[in-house]
Amino acid sequence: MASKNQGPAAPRALVVEDIKVDLVVLLRMLRKLNCEATVAHNGKEAVDLFLEGKTFDIVFFDKDMPVMTGPEAVTKIRAMGASEVKMVGVSADFGGLDAFMQAGADVFVPKPMKLETLDAMLQEVIDKNMSG
């Protein structure tokens, strides 16, 4: 059963997704795990948030989006020096694995993501923040 992330501060999440249904489901899952998220609707919006100085603990990227894809955004954000933020590539396209990992993502998760998987990833981030 998914845990509620209480006590330590909940991770700051960014969800980068252009398809409404997928976005709504992932946001609901995050909320169920007591994690509020910022939303970007394509890779460029995500990059712009980092350029504005926003920081996140974990970012979920869809792969194929208009304006800028997920892997492209991962590459750019890593190039900006954001090495600590956990970057998760999410796609129903299994070809996304190579694209995301080569771009510098930490992990690839096929869609649809399971709540248990999400909980485990958030817990990793919490543990890392507590130990750091």
Binding site: V21, R28, K32, S91, P112
Partner: protein
């Protein structure tokens, strides 16, 4: 009104949707995201899905006509639809989306056209069935979330 009977009917209807392959476990995951704060979350997501998917289907239809043999474009649109199908557990629709993408990969226009018709058909059937399911759940009342089917 016999609410427990309505709930049984809803559970039976949902089991049937699973047994016939219309839905998969992901649908249960979506229903599990409901709580007191969002008691109608599943129906809201499904409503959003059908609104979005109708638009995507329309886009694909236009692309098939306006961009003959542009398999990359056709595939890109269908990839979006497939992703949404995955997110709500629309299993049969997802399979038809995958068939379409395979035909795109083969450069098979006829295959794409036939497959697209199947996608539209599955979309229509699923919409009818889920509308009936949620209508039954609404009639069954607030405690009307059906239990997991025996899988």
């Amino acid at each position: 009104m016999d609410y427990s009977n309505l709930r049984r009917q809803a559970a039976s209807m949902k089991k049937s949707l699973f047994d016939q392959g219309y839905l998969d476990e992901q649908f249960c995951q979506v229903e599990d995201l409901q709580d007191e704060a969002s008691p109608n979350f599943a129906e809201e997501v499904i409503t959003l899905f059908f609104k979005d998917s109708a638009r995507l289907i329309s886009n694909i239809e236009q692309a098939l006509e306006k961009y003959p043999k542009d398999f990359n474009k056709w595939d890109a649109y269908m990839q979006q639809l497939k992703g949404s199908c995955s997110s709500i557990g629309a299993s049969r629709m997802k399979s038809e989306c995958m068939s379409f993408r395979e035909f795109c990969g083969q450069g098979n226009v006829e295959g794409c056209m036939k497959s697209f018709q199947k996608v539209k058909r599955e979309h229509g059937v699923l919409r009818q069935k889920l509308e009936a399911y949620f209508q039954l759940l609404r009639q069954a009342g607030p405690a009307g979330a059906a239990t997991r089917p025996g899988m």
